[in-house]
């Protein structure tokens, strides 16, 4: 697994993939999808697919791939080696969603939530397999959100493919376990070797699991909190853990699409709230309104500081 394409720019989303085995382009294939790193406040979320001919299902089962969460990091690395050695019939692909992609998507003006992002990523990977000529007949997916709805959505998008969406699919279907291992191995490696784009000098890499409730992760976040910029791009700003720390320890930042309301916001923005019309000075009309040319350019004549 060569992570360099992602590591050269870890602020965006990146696809990595194995060679497509020849046999996958001629025989009916099954494909499994799983993700790694959905919960952590640090690092990327990785989506993985694994695919092989339906006739090889038994072989995959015998290689004893199991749900990646029940394995140690070393066991996962070993199993990934095994999967990689089966390249004559087994293929994989990954989509690495950088923490910056997650932050900027979830905090977009028109909010793009994590479930939608997950669904679109999974769909993109299935489409990638199809476009690469993999003869897909069965797809197994670990669910995000309600399984039935998701299954219906995928079945409609990919007619002719039998889609099975299940909670805990990674422990039910070996091909999903295999996908889960690929995703988790990539996530672990990326987090371990994170290349900070910020100019922070030597960065302490003792960030724990990355989960918000891990004391090590919390301590790391506090250590690397900058009052103005918040955090490095390694942190998911859209996580409430990160937001709360910034709210408490950072300086306040106002955006024009903030949904703050009331008198205070109006005062800050130097315009009138509805309430102002009920006060004594209501209706004070400006004798000399500024021309549109200036208001459109936010140009003001400055008479005092």
């Amino acid at each position: 697994m060569d992570l360099r394409p992602f590591e050269t720019d870890n602020s965006v989303s990146c696809r990595l993939s194995s060679q497509i085995p020849d046999v996958c382009q001629t025989e009916d294939c099954c494909l499994g999808i799983d993700e790694a790193g959905r919960g952590p406040v640090l690092g990327p979320m990785v989506y993985g697919i694994c695919f092989c001919p339906v006739s090889k299902k038994q072989e995959l089962k015998e290689s004893k791939v199991a749900d990646s969460k029940t394995l140690s990091e070393a066991e996962r690395e070993n199993l990934f080696q095994k999967l990689d050695e089966a390249k004559s019939y087994l293929g994989w692909a990954l989509q690495i969603l950088s923490p910056n992609t997650i932050s900027t998507s979830m905090l977009q003006r028109t909010k793009y939530n994590l479930n939608a992002l997950s669904h679109d990523t999974a769909i993109g990977l299935i489409q990638y397999a199809l476009d690469s000529g993999v003869q897909l007949t069965e797809v197994f997916v670990d669910t995000v959100g309600p399984a039935e709805k998701y299954e219906e959505k995928l079945s409609k998008l990919f007619p002719g493919i039998k889609v099975t969406v299940r909670p805990k699919a990674d422990s039910l279907f070996p091909v999903v376990s295999a996908a889960s291992i690929c995703a988790k191995v990539a996530r672990d490696r990326v987090v371990k070797g994170w290349n900070f784009a910020e100019d922070l000098g030597e960065v302490d890499v003792d960030y724990g699991s990355g989960y918000p409730n891990d004391p090590k992760t919390k301590a790391w976040l506090l250590k690397y909190l900058d009052p103005v910029f918040g955090f490095p791009q390694f942190v998911r700003f859209s996580w409430s853990t990160a937001q709360t720390l910034i709210d408490n320890k950072g300086v306040t930042v106002h955006w024009d699409d903030d949904d703050e309301d009331g008198e205070k916001a109006a005062q800050r923005q130097n315009n009138r709230s509805m309430l102002a019309y009920f006060s004594s000075s209501a209706g004070g009309n400006d004798q000399n309104p500024t021309h549109r040319f200036f208001t459109e350019r936010r140009l003001k004549s400055l008479d005092r500081l």
Binding site: L107, E198, D226, V253, L299
Partner: protein, 136 residues
């Protein structure tokens, strides 16, 4: 203000010693007046594409571009050295740095010619046409 008779002076003699500084205009209001780790965070993570620059600030995606000051103009960053004790006193601001271009950033929107700051740069030329000496 009519009740305020204080005068504000700009001490332009400091222009000569002033450093040229990179200036960024962000699409948000930051409640902070003072130093910030701009080069370590913002400059270091800025991606330069053909038509625009991209970066993120506080987890929000920004797109921006460089904009030059109008021909014949210099941008000044002013700083008040001694804050007055009352609003009746005269005030003096010094030039702390100068710039002839700045980088402005939009929230998610690619930079374009309708951006307020781009349009604002029309004013000096128009002002010259309106207020400048009339030639026969």
């Amino acid at each position: 203000m009519s009740c305020n008779t204080s005068v504000t002076r700009v001490d332009v003699s400091s222009v000569g010693q002033a450093q040229r500084a990179p200036v960024h205009l962000l699409p948000c209001e930051i409640e902070h007046n003072g130093p910030a780790q701009v080069s370590q965070y913002l400059t270091a993570t800025t991606k330069d594409c053909k038509l625009e620059k991209t970066v993120s600030f506080r987890g929000r995606g920004l797109k921006g571009q460089e904009l030059s000051c109008p021909q014949g103009y210099t941008g000044l960053v002013l700083k008040e050295i001694n804050k007055p004790g009352s609003d009746q006193e005269d005030r003096t601001v010094k030039v702390s740095s100068v710039f002839d271009k700045l980088t402005y950033w939009n929230l998610e929107t690619p930079p374009n010619s309708d951006d307020t700051i781009v349009m604002a740069m029309d004013w000096p030329e128009l002002a010259e046409a309106i207020h400048g000496p009339v030639e026969d």
